[in-house]
């Protein structure tokens, strides 16, 4: 029988936590990407180290992909639970790899089960049970018609550091898995695999933040581990020897942000990373950054709250908290990348804006964006990484004495002198202060400083704020989707699946926003649909208060999972 041609497929592997699913998934994704597929991959796992159910899925396509897909074409079950949990996402014709020794199953759908005798093969290979993931990897690669040799080279690359013996064992297991499937041509497909012109780069949101921070001249990063931000700490820490960045795991989030402010005052670009709970602890210091006019970049990767919430799942639930965090009134800039490329671009920009406006800049992510990996256009990324930073009015010498740290200026921005510069001194004062930085309670001086600080916001709106991006024709669209942050991904995909004309307004520079310009995008009698991964429609609230725009129709999801396009389509149909 002839093998079928296929242009896209979704592969998913599941196993109990601790069984190496992350490695299998990552390697499968790399095999696909290095063989010319466009991949989008994502892992889901409970907040447990052992036990619990972990999955990794890879969507691979001939054209660029920007979200997950609902239908699973290949389900690799390292246990029975995997089949039971994901059976509802199989279609007729899906293929399931399953070890009959794992227990009795009673399939309910019209899908094909291929026996993969993992237990038997492990015994034959004298390998311990964790190696089942390598057998599954090899079997999977054979199923999608991949090149056998590729397995061997990738495994050598991946495990090289662990020694020849480990490499060989992994190669043997994978190859045995491959061989078990390869004869079975009735079920294999051919995907137009090819050697890509340039080795593709596959990045997730946290990877992108880390890269862009290093490129943006960030020299101090402090954090206290909290999912889903922790991998930034690990990545930047691993790169320290090369980048010379100082990466600190401090005692708590209050210490984290205080240290970053100290480093920033003393003249280096500094950032912190956390999730909602840790960010809550940082808010007092955010306010100090506001009045002391100390640049600071905060990476806030959201997870579902309140409190400990669902630590390893996703939500866009901290938008309003981020925008309004910190006591007192001071300017703050909140950026929300919608995909991994935007994460690179906006992180670079965040560091510039923090210096230019001498105030905190927040980069919002969420578990879905932080950990979804996609193929990026390496030219765009390289260009972005190579663009030198802009430091604004940061100065290293003074031309005039007395030096006024908080000088009242037309744009609200006062030249910021790096401490240690000879001939003068000043303080970064958390109390209200005079232009020369001494403490004051004088009503006129107070008002002047309040106005000066808030003028920076107006300057930002006219010089750096960016309008939302618009796709499709706002005039002709039957539905105009409105998104911020990671819900961009599902909407782009859903629009491709719709027959009606649609448009998409996507916000990245979410706070503050230019009231008039934003309001002008919204016409009466058009159908706007706001898509948000939260329960209360926070961006809708923000649009009402910041732009006077009221969107009536919104699609929300708050079960800890990201949207599927199918859910968007279904929600529109039932509306």
């Amino acid at each position: 029988m002839m093998a079928k041609q296929q242009t896209a497929f979704l592969w998913k592997v599941g196993a109990p936590a601790g069984q190496g699913v992350m490695t299998t998934g990552l390697l499968f994704s790399k095999l696909c990407a290095q063989s010319g597929g466009n991949v989008f991959d994502y892992a889901e796992y409970p907040s447990l180290i052992q036990g619990g159910h972990n999955t990794y899925e890879v969507l691979c396509s001939t054209s660029p992909v920007n979200n997950r897909a609902w239908q699973v074409d290949y389900l690799v079950c390292l246990d029975k639970v995997t089949l039971e949990t994901h059976e509802h996402r199989l279609r007729s014709g899906s293929i399931v790899l399953f070890d009959p020794a794992a227990g009795k199953i009673s399939p309910t759908g019209d899908y094909t089960i291929i026996a993969l005798p993992l237990k038997e093969l492990l015994a034959e290979l004298k390998a311990n049970s964790i190696m089942a993931n390598m057998i599954a990897l090899g079997a999977s690669w054979a199923l999608v018609g991949g090149q056998r040799k590729k397995l061997e080279t990738l495994i050598a690359e991946q495990f090289g550091k662990k020694g020849a013996e480990i490499v060989k064992l992994n190669q043997n297991c994978a190859d045995r898995g491959f061989e078990t499937i390869v004869g079975n041509t009735t079920t294999t497909i051919t995907f137009p695999w090819h050697k890509p012109e340039k080795t593709p780069i596959v990045l997730g949101g946290n990877d992108a933040f880390s890269l862009a921070a290093a490129a943006a001249d960030c020299r101090f990063y402090a954090s206290y581990p909290m999912t889903p931000s922790s991998s930034v700490l690990a990545t930047l820490a691993a790169w320290q020897k090369m980048t010379d960045m100082v990466v600190r795991h401090a005692e708590d989030e209050v210490g984290v942000v205080s240290e970053a402010l100290g480093a920033s005052f003393a003249g280096v670009r500094a950032a912190v990373g956390t999730s909602g709970g840790g960010f809550a602890l940082m808010t007092e210091s955010l306010s100090y950054a506001g009045i002391g006019e100390i640049p600071l970049v905060v990476f806030l990767s959201q997870r579902p709250g309140p409190a400990t919430g669902l630590p390893t799942w996703t939500e866009q639930g901290d938008l309003l908290f981020a925008c309004y965090a910190g006591h007192g009134e001071f300017p703050k800039i909140v950026l929300a990348p919608g995909d991994v490329t935007e994460m690179v671009v906006l992180t670079k920009q965040a560091f510039d804006l923090a210096d230019i406006y001498q105030t905190p800049v927040l980069v919002l992510s969420d578990k879905f964006l932080s950990e979804s990996r996609m193929v990026l256009d390496s030219e765009v990324v390289e260009r972005e990484l190579s663009t030198p930073p802009e430091y604004g009015k940061t100065i290293r010498q003074v031309d005039e004495l007395p030096y006024l740290r908080y000088k009242n200026t037309d744009d609200g921005i006062s030249p910021r002198l790096i401490p240690g510069t000879p001939g003068t001194h000043y303080q970064a004062n958390s109390y209200e202060h005079l232009e020369d930085s001494h403490t004051t309670e004088d009503p006129e001086e107070r008002s002047m400083q309040v106005e000066k600080r808030l003028r920076k916001q107006a300057t930002y709106l006219s010089n750096h704020w960016q309008m939302p991006s618009i796709e499709g024709s706002l005039e002709r669209a039957e539905y105009i989707f409105v998104t911020w942050g990671s819900s961009k991904l599902v909407v782009s995909q859903a629009r491709d699946m719709m027959d009606q004309p649609t448009a998409h307004i996507h916000f990245t520079h979410v706070y503050p926003m230019d009231r008039e310009k934003v309001a002008a995008l919204f016409a009466p009698n058009r159908h706007y649909v706001l898509v948000e991964n939260n329960a209360t429609g926070q961006f809708g609230t923000l649009l009402r208060s910041e732009a006077g725009v009221d969107i009536k129709h919104s699609i929300r999801k708050y079960d800890g999972r990201a949207f599927y396009s199918e859910e968007i389509l279904a929600a529109l149909e039932s509306a």
Partner: protein, 287 residues
């Protein structure tokens, strides 16, 4: 570049607003003497002031400075020193700030042996918020927040610092200015975390821990006290439990500082170095 104006390089700032007779006057003087003795100038030192009567020194002493949040001066200083380890960094704050609100930072700064000098104004009260008990208040002390007397026993700052790993631990008394200035100088000369707990009468809100009380209950460390001997230091620090307050350097040892352990700081200060320009090569990690 403009000429340096010598008058702007004097440490004397605004006239302090402390109560007449407050122990903070002595500490302010002690710091100024120590800075001058080391021939520093306001552009060659970074000071971190916490929030409290003590921290109000921000306007009275000239220096590159941060007047931080309550309890955060020490944590903030950790970042300052990493960013520019070439400048001396001095932290001053109250006992409420450093042992209470910022207590966790205190423990971890000791562990880390960051190269900082920390002066704690120990007045057993929250001066600025009108006299509530601080963590060093004696058990049973009555105050506005503890009308029936504080239930907890006091923190022992010296023992705390010693056991958590500070490499220089001293105690001064604000009424003994020459010794205080020497302790601050020695603390700043020491490489690593220096804790100087300073007994500081609050004449307005503390009627127990007065000058007379401390004159009676302080003592000079014995001539044969060996400050390199950890057990002897622990011994002296314990006399505080018997209301006897040793004055002088209890302990000094050498251990690599946090900054010494960072290869990134081996040559220039982080703030002075050139930018990392090879970020594109990091993309290899994602191929």
């Amino acid at each position: 570049m403009m000429d340096i104006n010598p008058s702007s390089l004097d440490f004397t700032g605004y006239t302090p607003t402390w109560c007449a007779g407050c122990g903070n006057w002595g500490i302010g003087k002690g710091i100024e003497l120590a800075l001058k003795k080391q021939q520093l100038s306001p552009d060659r030192v970074i000071m971190l002031f916490d929030i409290g009567c003590s921290g109000n020194m921000n306007d009275f002493i000239n220096a590159y400075a941060m007047h931080t949040l309550h309890g955060r001066a020490l944590a903030t200083a950790v970042g300052v020193k990493i960013a520019n380890h070439k400048l001396p960094v001095l932290v001053t704050g109250g006992d409420g700030a450093l042992y209470g609100e910022g207590g966790n930072h205190f423990l971890h700064a000791c562990r880390g042996n960051h190269d900082l000098t920390v002066i704690v104004h120990d007045n057993s009260v929250y001066g600025l918020t009108t006299g509530q008990v601080s963590p060093t208040a004696s058990k049973g002390k009555k105050s506005r927040s503890t009308p029936s007397g504080i239930i907890e026993q006091p923190v022992n700052p010296l023992l705390l610092a010693l056991t958590q790993g500070a490499t220089f631990v001293a105690q001064g008394f604000t009424a003994q200015l020459p010794q205080l200035a020497e302790l601050i100088t020695a603390g700043m000369q020491h490489k690593g975390l220096s804790i100087i707990n300073v007994l500081q009468p609050c004449v307005t809100f503390n009627k127990e821990n007065t000058y007379a009380y401390y004159i009676k209950n302080t003592y000079k460390l014995p001539e044969d006290h060996d400050k390199s001997n950890f057990s002897q230091a622990l011994e002296q620090a314990q006399s505080v439990f018997k209301e006897r307050f040793p004055l002088g350097i209890l302990y000094e040892t050498t251990r690599p500082t946090y900054q010494d352990e960072l290869p990134q700081l081996a040559s220039e200060a982080l703030a002075e170095r050139g930018r990392f320009e090879k970020s594109v090569s990091l993309l290899d990690n994602f191929k």
